[in-house]
Symmetry: C2
Subunit: 244 residues, 2 copies
DNA sequence: TAGCTTCTTGTCAGTTCGACAGGAAGTGCT
DNA sequence: AGCACTTCCTGTCGAACTGACAAGAAGCTA
């Protein structure tokens, strides 16, 4: 495999976080303004290096989640690895990106360590005039794409909601992440028909305007059957190429 | 983020390959018998360290694919990262696992560098009495699970076939990976109904026994619509808990 | 009580799905 | 050739599901 004199190269390991949430019925990602030099002043994903050689990678991700965003107990899953040789001027940095999903939060993220943390709509973050540090633009795009497809066949949507939620709140998640509009009546049927997706949570109620809605909580199953198929069902506005 | 005197820890980066193929109508994974010390003599996934600090991770994966399995031009996609602190006695080794899919090959893999490379049925590799080095058992399980779910909504199945294939060959892929049996007539309808999945490749023919089959090749689309939903449709043998 | 809002239950026609029958097109044997 | 056998492929039928839409239920405000 390799001769005895050869030593494998050492690299630096970082974690980056794509933290998604819903604000104002639109999908947002948390970005911070970098306070240190490579790309100082530009927007980037929260993240950082492994603290020491014994820290577990997912633990590091949760630590950064807490330090930089003040978050705990959120859905967290590995997204991908980004290790292209030239991506970081400090050396060979390999970054493990995680996807985190959180319910809508009280406000602009408290207790953060970073210079400035702000929720940015995904649309803005990915628009061509926004500048993101390193290859973070691609990481954001990958994270959003992951969320989009996982919504179809897993119960990931519930991670965007609080512990209990109404069906129309859940519908807003699908509409925001997919960028389309759905019929509330058919959505009801579908969501309730997927076994183990959501379970009723007491006949409680809520909201202030119309008829009170029933509350649900996440069900036991993660994989949805039948899946929530996303038919090209474009919103009221103009043509919107149903690209692959 | 961190004070100036602090230095991020260096780690060793490896790649591991879960190479799947179909042999004898069953899903197989390529394992090698380790020739060097940590876990010498036990079965493990092909893989190795990054060659130098400038090698791209995916390039390293393709290099190992070639060196250890004699393969090139196969489907290759990132699977996950495995970096738990105690997983390798040599130090802090973080391994990037890739999932590779290849059509059935001429024979037991030629030109390999490893002591012994052998195709093992996934069933055997994951059975409790098989011993795999490091955390490779879990990596194999993750790879198989990834293949199973990607078969549902992507054209991944075509990666198991040669450049051209018949519909029943494609069906065998689904049956082997999912471990269930499907009705050929309904499978036809479904596969042909998924736009962009497969396209006819001349009215050619093949096989030696029954009526010649039409040949197809992979179509332009990777995402399947409608998806190939996997209904619990158990094979002729006994009860088989439809677990999640 | 009327009017507004939002939630929830239905209905209906078109489509898809799973189970199954039967014809089409090769090979090999007598 | 004729027949048995194999595999491929096209159809059919009732059940289940889907998307479009109507109408009732249940709260608030005026």
């Amino acid at each position: 495999m390799f001769d005895d004199s050869w030593e494998p190269p050492a690299i630096l390991l970082a974690v980056d976080l794509v933290i998604l949430t819903l604000r104002d019925s639109r999908l947002h990602v948390l970005l911070i303004e970098r306070g240190i030099e490579p790309h100082r002043g530009t927007l980037a994903l929260p993240g950082g290096f492994l603290r020491d050689a014994n820290e577990d990678i997912e633990d590091a991700a949760r630590r950064e989640l807490n330090e930089e965003a003040g978050l705990a107990d959120v859905h967290l899953e590995p997204l991908n690895v980004y290790g292209e040789p030239g991506r970081d001027p400090r050396g060979r940095v390999v970054s493990v990106a995680y996807l985190a999903i959180t319910p809508r939060l009280p406000e602009p993220v408290a207790g953060t360590d970073a210079v400035r943390a702000c929720w940015t709509s995904v649309e803005d973050a990915l628009s061509s005039d926004a500048e993101l540090a390193f290859d973070h633009r691609r990481i954001v795009a990958d994270g959003v794409e992951r969320a989009r497809t996982k919504l179809e066949h897993t119960a990931l949507a519930t991670a965007f909601c609080g512990e209990t939620f109404t069906i129309s709140e859940l519908q807003q998640v699908y509409e925001a992440v997919w960028g389309i509009q759905l019929d509330p009546r058919n959505f009801y049927r579908k969501v309730q028909g997927a076994r183990g997706f959501i379970v009723a949570d007491g006949p409680l109620r809520r909201t202030a305007n119309g008829r009170p809605a029933r509350l649900f909580r996440a069900g036991p199953d993660q994989v949805l059957y039948p899946p929530m198929v996303r038919t090209a069902h474009v919103a009221p506005q103009g043509p919107n190429g149903s690209a692959n």
